[in-house]
C-alpha cells in the first residue's frame, strides 16, 4: 500500500507551478518519493491540495503527522494490524488547527504500535531507518528512535518542515535525539488530545519535531489552545497564570541569547546512569561550559525519586493502555479474525482472544498483560496505587527544585514544598536526552530475550520523569564533532531542557539561545 502511494508521486506531478510555497510542497513530496523506500518514515502521503491558501500563519509549511493522530483524509493505523484499514471520520483538533492555519498535512508517519516502543521497530509497517546512517558511506541501518521515529526521520531526511509526534514517556524527545533534530514535548494539557489515539491518557502529549527551534515554536504557537473536547485540556486561566509568571521573570522581548544571563540551570544528579555513554557526558560538559560563559548559574540538584520513576511509569502506562485498548476486539474496531472451527464458542473471551492475539504486536500484548495484572484486585494496591504514589513523589521532587509553582497541579491539597533549602530553586533543568546514540537496528532487541529487551527500557529513565510530572521538555541536538579521535563518524545526541508546567515559552527561548550559541562557536 505504501509503495503505491509513493509511486503516485513519482509520476509527473500535475501540480508543478511557479509559486514558491507550492513548489516547496511538491519538493517535499519528491524527496519522500526518493528517500522513503529506504527510510520508511511515511506510511501514507497526502495528495497536494491545490486550494491551500498562501497567506496564513503556517502557509508554506509541510507538516507530517504521526499515524496515531486522527486524520479524516488519510488512514490512522497506529502502526497496528488491528487498525490497518481504519480511517477516522474526523480530524484531530491539532490537525484541524494546522490546516486552518495553512499548513500542508503532507502525510502520516510510521511509529511504534500505539506509541509503545523506543526504537520504532514494533510496527506493522516495518522499522524506520535513521536517515543519517543511510546517507553515510558505507550506509548503516540505525534506529530512528521511537515511538515517533517516522516523524523524526521524516524531518531529518528533509521530507517535511516539521512533524507531529506523541510523547507518552519520551517518544518525541528520544527520536529527536537519535535523528539530530529538535523535539518538544509541551506541558501536559496544552495541546488538545482530541483525536489522538490514547495509549496512556494521563501521560500522552502531542509533541512537535522540527529541524530548528523557530519552526518548532511556530507550529507550537498555532496548535496550543484550550479545547473543550479534551477534558484534560488546560483552562485558559491556568495558561495565563503560568504565562504571566514566566514573563515576569523572563522578559522574552530581550535578545534570545540574553535569556541565559542569570538563568538558574539545575543539573539533576540522578540523570547520569552508569549505562550512559561517557562521550555524551563530555558533550554535556561542553554545553554547560558554554552556558556558564553566557552568565548562567549551574546548580547541582537532586531528584531522589527518579530511580523509581521508570517502574511507576510502566505500571501506570500499561494499566491505562490495558483499559484504552480494550475497544479493539475485532467487533467495533479492528480486523476481526474468525475463531477456529473447534473453538469453544460459549466462552466469549476465546473469540476476542484470537482477534487480539493475531492483531496486536508482541510489545502491545506485553503491556496489556502487565496493565491488566496491575489493575487486578490482588495487585491493585501493590502495583497501581503504589505507582501513583511514586508519581506524586516524582512531581514533588520537581516542585521542590523549580522556582515557579505548578499551576496545573491536580492535587487539591497542593503544598508548595519550596521551603526546603537543600538547593536554591532553579528555572530549568538540563540533562542528556539519551544514554546513547542511535543503536544499530541489528542490535535491536526485537526478537531476543533477557538483558537486551530490558535495556530498551533503561533509556526511558531520562525522559519518563518529565512525563510523569506533565512538564514541558525539549530535546535539542548538542554540538558533536563530525568525527571522533579515531576518525569514526559521531552520531547526534540531544540535551533536554525541562521546565515547570506552563513554561514552554521559556524552554523554547532557552533552546533557541543554545542553538544560536552552538552555531556561533563553530
Amino acid at each position: 500500500m505504501r509503495t503505491n502511494v509513493i509511486k503516485k508521486w513519482l509520476s509527473p506531478s500535475p501540480f508543478r507551478t511557479h509559486i514558491s510555497w507550492y513548489s516547496t510542497h511538491v519538493h517535499h513530496r519528491e524527496v519522500i518519493s526518493a528517500k522513503n523506500p529506504a527510510v520508511n518514515a511515511f506510511v501514507h502521503v497526502s495528495e497536494l491540495s491545490p486550494s491551500t491558501a498562501n497567506n496564513l500563519p503556517l502557509s508554506g509549511l509541510s507538516v507530517a503527522v504521526k499515524d496515531n493522530i486522527a486524520t479524516s483524509r488519510l488512514p490512522t493505523t497506529c502502526s497496528s494490524a488491528m487498525l490497518q484499514n481504519f480511517t477516522s471520520p474526523f480530524d484531530a483538533t491539532v490537525v484541524k488547527l494546522l490546516e486552518q492555519n495553512g499548513a500542508d498535512i503532507i502525510g502520516k508517519t510510521n511509529c511504534d504500535e500505539f506509541g509503545m516502543g523506543s526504537l520504532n521497530i514494533h510496527s506493522v509497517h516495518g522499522p524506520v531507518k535513521n536517515p543519517i546512517g543511510l546517507s553515510q558511506a558505507p550506509a548503516e541501518e540505525r534506529s530512528a528512535g521511537g515511538s515517533s521515529g517516522g516523524s523524526a526521520a521524516a524531518v531529518a531526511a528533509g521530507m517535511c518542515h516539521a512533524a507531529l509526534g506523541t510523547d507518552t514517556g519520551g517518544s518525541v524527545r528520544l527520536p529527536a535525539s537519535y535523528c539530530g533534530i529538535v523535539g518538544l514535548k509541551p506541558s501536559y494539557g496544552l495541546i488538545s488530545r482530541w483525536g489522538v489515539v490514547s495509549y496512556a491518557d494521563s501521560l500522552d502529549c502531542v509533541g512537535i519535531l522540527a529541524s530548528d527551534v523557530d519552526t518548532t515554536r511556530r507550529i507550537f504557537e498555532h496548535v496550543t489552545s484550550y479545547d473543550s473536547r479534551d477534558p484534560t485540556s488546560a483552562l485558559q486561566e491556568i495558561r495565563d497564570k503560568a504565562r504571566r509568571h514566566t514573563e515576569e521573570f523572563f522578559p522574552f522581548s530581550q535578545p534570545p541569547d540574553r535569556i541565559i544571563n542569570g538563568l538558574r540551570i539545575g543539573i539533576p544528579q540522578e540523570y547520569f546512569p552508569s549505562e550512559m555513554s561517557p562521550a555524551i557526558i563530555e558533550h554535556l560538559r561542553t554545553l554547560i561550559a558554554l552556558l556558564k560563559t553566557q552568565g548562567a548559574t549551574i546548580v547541582p540538584v537532586s531528584l531522589p525519586s527518579t530511580s523509581y520513576a521508570l517502574s511507576s511509569y510502566y505500571v501506570l502506562a500499561s494499566a491505562e493502555a490495558s483499559s484504552n485498548l480494550a475497544r479493539y476486539d475485532g467487533v467495533q474496531y479492528g480486523s476481526y479474525v474468525p475463531p477456529d472451527p473447534d473453538t469453544d464458542l460459549t466462552k466469549t473471551s476465546k473469540v476476542y482472544a484470537r482477534t487480539r492475539s493475531l492483531n496486536f504486536g508482541e510489545e502491545v500484548q506485553k503491556r496489556i498483560l502487565l496493565g491488566t495484572y496491575a489493575l487486578s484486585a490482588d495487585a491493585f494496591d501493590n502495583y497501581f496505587l503504589q505507582a501513583r504514589r511514586v508519581r506524586q513523589l516524582v512531581k514533588n521532587d520537581f516542585n521542590r527544585v523549580f522556582s515557579m509553582p505548578n499551576y496545573f497541579s491536580d492535587s487539591i491539597n497542593y503544598v508548595d514544598e519550596n521551603t526546603s533549602d537543600d538547593h536554591p530553586p532553579v528555572d530549568v533543568l538540563l540533562h542528556p536526552s539519551a544514554i546513547r546514540t542511535a543503536p544499530l537496528l541489528t542490535e535491536s532487541p526485537s526478537a531476543s530475550e533477557g538483558d537486551t529487551s530490558l535495556s530498551s527500557y533503561v533509556q526511558d529513565v531520562l525522559t519518563v520523569p518529565a512525563s510523569l510530572g506533565g512538564l514541558p521538555a525539549l530535546s535539542i541536538p548538542m554540538k558533536v564533532p563530525q568525527k571522533d579521535n579515531d576518525g569514526k563518524v559521531q552520531w547526534p545526541v540531544g540535551a533536554s531542557i525541562v521546565g515547570q508546567w506552563g513554561t514552554d515559552d521559556l524552554i523554547l527561548s532557552v533552546a533557541r539561545a543554545i542553538e544560536t550559541l552552538q552555531t556561533q562557536c563553530q
Binding site: 496512556a200 483499559s323 480494550a326 467495533q332 466469549t348 487486578s376 491536580d410
Partner: protein, 436 residues
C-alpha cells in the same frame, strides 16, 4: 469524578437484622437486597457479568438477548465509567416505606452513585443471523441507588420500588417509567433458615416492572435452593472469591478532580431546595374536603399524584410546572373515581384529555360529555347504568361464541366504563344461567 472500586460490594458483608423474624408460609426466612438502577433516559444492559453465570427466567425473555459469543458487542469502549467507590453522590441514607396501614420499616440506602451507560442497544435478527447495534443510547447517565439488605419479602421490595419511584418523580430526577427502561431493578436474593446466616446471593438483573420483580423474587429462590445440591450451585455462587468478577477499576485519567468552592456549594444547595410546587399541590389536595364532604385519603391522593399525574406528564415529556390541572380539578377527578362515578380506567383517560386540552370546566360534566360515567355506577347519575351494562354484556355474549373473546369484546364496547369486578360477576352469572 474519577473513582475507585467498590470492592466492598463484592466482598464480605455482615448480616444485619434488627427486625423480628416473621413467619412467611412460602419458605422460611427472607432476605432481599434491592439494587435499583435509574436511567436518565436510556436503556442499558449489564456487561460486567460473564455470560450465563446467573441466568434468571427474565433474562431469557429480555429483548435484544444475543448469542453468548456476541455478548459484549454493545460496549464500544470496553470499559464503563462509574463513581461508585471514591465519592458516591450520597451515602448512608434511609427510606421509610409503609408495610401495612399502620406500620412502616426503614430501608437503609447504602449509597447513590452515577454511572455511564456505555452500552448500545443491540438487536439480533434470527432470520439473517445478524446483530444490529444502535449507539444512540450509549453514554447516557445512570443513577444507581443501592439499598442495604433490609427488605424481607417480595411485597416489601415492591413497596420500596414504588416509594422510590414516587420520590424520584416528585423531585424530578427521573420520569421513573419502568416500561421505557428509565427505571430498572437489580435484585439480590439470599435465603436462609431461621437463625442461620444468609445464604448465597442470587442476583436478578434488569427487572423492568414491579410485578415482574416480585414474581422473580418468588420464583428465583426455590429454584436456587434446589440448585444448591447440584452443579447449578456453582452457577449461582456469585460472591465466592474465585468467581468474583474482577472489575479492574482504575481512576479515569481523563476526568480530573472537581473542586467546588464554598460559594458554588451554596448555590447548589439552593438549587436542591427549589420545590417545583408539587408538595404544595399535594397539601392542597389533602386539605380540601372531597365532593361528599369527607376527608380525602392521602395515600390515594399520593398514588394518583405520583403515578398518574406525574407519570402522564413525564410520558408527555413535561415537568410538573406544565401541569394545567388545578388542585380542585384534580381532586374532583380523584373523588369521581373514589365514589365510583367513573372507573379508574376512565379516570386515567379523563386525565389524559385534560392534559391534552386543558379546560377549567367541571370534571363531572366533562366525564358525562365523554360518556365516561361508570356503567354500574351507584352514584346519583347511575340509575339506568346497571341495565345498560347488562344489555351490553348480553349483546357481547350473543355476538361471540367463545367466553374469552366475549370478555374482550364486552370490554371494548364499554370503552373502559365497565367496572371489572361487576362485569366479571355479571358475565359469569349470565353465562351460567343462560347457556349461549
Amino acid at each position: 469524578m474519577s473513582l475507585f472500586a467498590s470492592r466492598v460490594s463484592l466482598g464480605r458483608r455482615s448480616f444485619y437484622d434488627l427486625r423480628t423474624y416473621q413467619e412467611d408460609p412460602r419458605w422460611p426466612g427472607w432476605q432481599v437486597i434491592s439494587r435499583q438502577k435509574l436511567f436518565s433516559e436510556s436503556l442499558t444492559s449489564n456487561l460486567d457479568d460473564s455470560p450465563n453465570t446467573h441466568v434468571s427466567p427474565f433474562d431469557a425473555a429480555y429483548p435484544g438477548t444475543l448469542p453468548v459469543t456476541l455478548f459484549l458487542l454493545d460496549l464500544p469502549s470496553g470499559y464503563q465509567i462509574t463513581n461508585n467507590t471514591v465519592s458516591p453522590v450520597a451515602t448512608n441514607g434511609e427510606l421509610e416505606i409503609p408495610v401495612s396501614d399502620s406500620s412502616s420499616i426503614i430501608v437503609r440506602i447504602k449509597q447513590i452513585q452515577l454511572e455511564q451507560v456505555h452500552t448500545a442497544k443491540s438487536t439480533f435478527d434470527p432470520r439473517t443471523s445478524k446483530s444490529y447495534i444502535d449507539l444512540n443510547r450509549a453514554g447516557t447517565g445512570l443513577m444507581e441507588i443501592v439499598s442495604e439488605p433490609d427488605i424481607r419479602s417480595p411485597e416489601e421490595a415492591g413497596t420500596y420500588v414504588r416509594t422510590l419511584q414516587s420520590i424520584l418523580r416528585a423531585v424530578g430526577s427521573s420520569d421513573g417509567n419502568m416500561e421505557q427502561g428509565s427505571l430498572r431493578c437489580d435484585v439480590n436474593v439470599s435465603l436462609n433458615r431461621k437463625g442461620d446466616p444468609p445464604g448465597t446471593r442470587c442476583e436478578i438483573k434488569n427487572l423492568n416492572s414491579v410485578r415482574f420483580m416480585m414474581a422473580a423474587i418468588s420464583l428465583a429462590v426455590p429454584q436456587e435452593t434446589r440448585g444448591f445440591d447440584e452443579n447449578t450451585f456453582e452457577t449461582f455462587r456469585l460472591r465466592s472469591k474465585e468467581d468474583a468478577p474482577d472489575y479492574r477499576y482504575m481512576p479515569d485519567p481523563n476526568l480530573g478532580v472537581l473542586v467546588l468552592s464554598e460559594e458554588k456549594q451554596q448555590s447548589l444547595d439552593v438549587l436542591l431546595n427549589v420545590d417545583n410546587g408539587v408538595v404544595h399541590y399535594f397539601e392542597q389536595l389533602c386539605q380540601a374536603p372531597s365532593r361528599n364532604g369527607q376527608k380525602r385519603d392521602p395515600a390515594v391522593l399520593l398514588n394518583w399524584l405520583t403515578h398518574e399525574l406525574l407519570g402522564q406528564l413525564s410520558a408527555r415529556q413535561e415537568t410538573f410546572s406544565a401541569n394545567p390541572l388545578s388542585a380542585e380539578q384534580f381532586g374532583e377527578l380523584i373523588d369521581l373515581v373514589q365514589e365510583r362515578t367513573i372507573t379508574g380506567t376512565s379516570g386515567k383517560l379523563l386525565l389524559r384529555y385534560m392534559l391534552t386540552s386543558p379546560s377549567s370546566r367541571s370534571l363531572e360534566k366533562f366525564a358525562t360529555e365523554l360518556e365516561l360515567i361508570a356503567l354500574d355506577s351507584t352514584s346519583s347519575l347511575g340509575s339506568s347504568a346497571s341495565t345498560e351494562l347488562e344489555g351490553l354484556c348480553k349483546a357481547a355474549i350473543a355476538a361471540l361464541p367463545s367466553e374469552v373473546t366475549a370478555f374482550r369484546a364486552g370490554n371494548k364496547n364499554s370503552r373502559g366504563r365497565a367496572d371489572a369486578a361487576a362485569t366479571r360477576s355479571l358475565v359469569e352469572k349470565l353465562v351460567l344461567s343462560k347457556p349461549v
